[in-house]
Amino acid sequence: MTRRFVPALLLWLAFVAACIAVVSQTRFTADLSAFLPEAPTAEQRVLVEQLRDGMVSRLLLVGIEGGDAAQRAQLSRDLAGKLRADAAFGMVANGEPVHRERDHALLFTHRYVLSPAVSAERFTTTGLRQAIAESIDLLASPLGMLTKTLLPRDPTGELLQLLERLDGGARPAMQEGVWASRDGRRALLLAQTRASGSDLDGQQAAIASLRNAFAGEASKLPSGADLKLLVSGAAVFAVDSRATIESEVTRLALLSTAIIAALLLFIYRSPTALVLGLLPVVSGALAGIVAVSLGFGVMHGVTLGFGTTLIGEAVDYAIYLFVQSGPARGNEGRNAFWPTIRLGVMTSICGFGALMFSGFPGLAQLGLYSIAGLIVAALVTRYILPQLLPVGFAIRDVTPLGLRLQCVVVAAGRLRWILAGVAALSGALVFAQHDRVWNHELGALSPVPAEAQAVDAALRSDLGAPDLRYMIVVRAADADSALQRAESVSAQLQTLVDAGEIGGYESPSLYLPSQTRQLERRAALPDPRELGERLATATAGLPLPAERLAPFIDDISTARARAPLTRADLDGTSFAMAVDSLLLRQGEQWTALLPLRAPAAGAPAKEIDPAAVRRALDGAADASPMFIDMKGESGRLYASYLREAIMLSLAGVAAIVALLAVALRSPRRVVRVLLPLAAAVLTVVAGLMLSGVALTILHLVGLLLIVAVGSNYALFFDGPGGSGGPPPATLASMLFANLTTVAGFGVLAFSSVPVLQAIGGTVGPGALLALVFAAAFARTSSCPVPGTPAR
């Protein structure tokens, strides 16, 4: 060890210590929010918040299968009872009328501030006569059975107004007194977790306690073992995905590390070399985590999973060092290959650097991680590693292998035109089908298995659970203003309901009108004496004499004195949960959500026409409503990030071209370096297309990696070896580097997590192709006579 390198070594040790200190403080997350882009517009922010925290993410859909209907119903009741007593759950519904009595009592008590029909006109003589005559006519109908006994207290039919409005939604079928699927083979429950969608640990605990409660209650039944629990919903998906990603990342990282270590051990035949060879990778990974941690505050498990990215390329540096600086070469050999490596690292930085500007947090993190990691790994390889090599350090002599490889390269050169043809055909295919190259669906990244999605769809359809595709959002500084805005939007939505454009809508103001609206309605109620006089005139000639309406006058006079309804009054009714899930506090702002329901009638269910909704909303412009098409919005959002990522990648490619132009100072050499990379990328894309894969944003990352890794190969073939091509040691080191990359990424191709699989399936074959193309397109080299020691 030379004395002048001691400072460098100390610096490195200090750096590693500092990294470890930062890493120990770093927060790691494994949820999917890395794939929810940072939303630039207000509508998109609401969407993302809704996905993370909203009622959708808190709803668990539960099915009970097996046994007979009576057993399922019994278990449904027992389970619901248990969950209702569990603080982890807000609302638990299974069709039992737990809230019905209190709901109806609340509606009836507060009907004059809740009913949309209440106005000053309704309580004039004419208005009263009309309303009462209508109620009498209704008695002729079978529906009159509902109102008959209430007529003396509610002759204007306000309760029916309210019930009609609330009963509009689709309800699940009933069997043995509880909800059941339409085919009658499952009992159904809905449970809402108190933990929000962003609190995955809380949701995980809630799901676990649901499963425990089921197992506990089922074991009490005589044939409980026959009964099976199904749980679905966004929370289940998120929790399961996290578990899958965590376990896959761990498993695959271990597996690829093991494969790479075995390969290196085989190549080096020296455990010391193996350990030393991993130093740049470990230093780079530490640096990457630190950079992401400092830059983003948290680090995603997925980003860490792509640390394989680094292992793939940074392991190469050590391989180049060990192999090419071989036994007798020392600094001379190192200096010979270093400029090429430096250019390769800079090329990779140009490629990954573009990702840092992505609005997709996962990609931006990946960009930063790779750059920091690569720079540190390269520096460690360059300045630290050579000093750590023991005196007389030597790995096995790879020259014979290198010589044989030179022959392979010559052979590959003969295939040049065939390979060029393959690349050209691939290019033609990609060009001809360029519309189909990209998958614009966000769902393509979803790690949820198709089977789980099918169960979810079945439960959702049987429960009539809202898919909340369309919703209107209004915001205000306080809850009551948000309710007022919801009311002015509701008025417009009602016109759409009347026109049949939408089936209906939800609004927190249906259950809890704004104070202003309630006071308006209360002010419309006449004083008892006045009302009595008006009733006498209004009921003349009707079969319902005014004397029989004394309870009505009493109720009105009580209603006039009653304080407006507040959120606290709703406790114990099913309206409490409805209001809480539709009226949200977000920081200093209150948000009211108004989900729309598609029209129910008609065999081919009519779709909601967004244009009609937007037109109607123009009438409530003062409430500044936002109309959100959740599915369309998330699709658009993803598509815009995909577009952005493609543009950034192209910018990265342009940067690489510029870099090569400056470094190589020869257009011909630039083309020679870029040609194999372009051929590899096109062939991989064509291969993916032919196997029916539409490319996602992660495939794009994979393509960038092919360019990053492959540029090293192309540069070596173009490098200082002269017209004879790279020397044998260089060839051997490239083969080793390639094998580790293909092994490291090949493993990912077998992952069940789509994002990992996409990267693996792209980079694995891509790296191999890049080497093959680079070799085939290289300038002619000669194949030495076997057995001759060449140098």
């Binding site: 002729a140 059975m145 069997q175």
Partner: protein, 200 residues
């Protein structure tokens, strides 16, 4: 509770009306038995009639009247189209009962109400001439002769009896003329039926 009760009543009224829709049939007048009545009722697959109904309610001074058309189509579709005082259509098909009044539509699934499902099965059994099923829900009493008979249905189920005390169906041979429903609260309704013959 009142909701279930009223639905039950609603279905009772509706289905009682269904039995009306069978066309006239010549049957020997002498010994008129439940078995013969069932056979006469069960033979027809569809029919159409006009109705006028009066409801006598304690809360009102005068009865409320309504009128319209009834249509039945085998095996399980029944429509009650009210024209006066306000247009309303009520369609029972299979397990679904839907009421359309003005722009509003209400849908009820019969199986949501266990007792009512038993009720509907028994009425369908009547139409099919399946006396055994019918007798599971009601005690049957037949009075009169083939030309002028009265079938009385008394609910066996106590929960049903809390709403409906008795249903009297009067008819001539396979043709129904009047359905009277007596409710537990003392209110009653009488529906008069005039058959229009077979539906097209």
């Amino acid at each position: 509770m009142f909701k279930v009760a009223s639905t039950r009543l609603l279905v009772a009224a509706l289905l009682a009306a269904a039995s009306v829709l069978h066309g006239p049939q010549a049957i020997a007048a002498e010994a008129w038995t439940v078995a013969q009545l069932m056979q006469a009722l069960g033979k027809h697959r569809n029919g159409q009639a006009t109705f006028s109904e009066r409801k006598y309610l304690a809360v009102l001074d005068q009865p409320v009247e309504s009128s319209g058309e009834l249509r039945f189509q085998a095996p399980d579709r029944l429509e009650k189209i009210t024209l006066k005082p306000r247009p309303e259509s009520l369609v029972l098909e299979g397990n679904n009962l839907s009421v359309t009044r003005g722009k509003k539509q209400f849908n009820v699934r019969l199986s949501d109400y266990g007792e009512v499902a038993g009720f509907i099965d028994s009425i369908r059994a009547t139409l099919a001439g399946d006396r055994n099923t019918l007798e599971r829900t009601y005690a049957l009493h037949l009075a009169g002769n083939a030309e002028r008979w009265t079938l009385t249905l008394l609910p066996r189920d106590t929960r049903m009896a809390e709403v409906v005390t008795r249903i009297n169906i009067a008819g001539t041979r396979g043709l129904l003329r009047e359905i009277e429903i007596l409710q537990a609260d003392g209110d009653r309704s009488v529906m008069e039926i005039v058959a229009m013959g077979q539906a097209r």
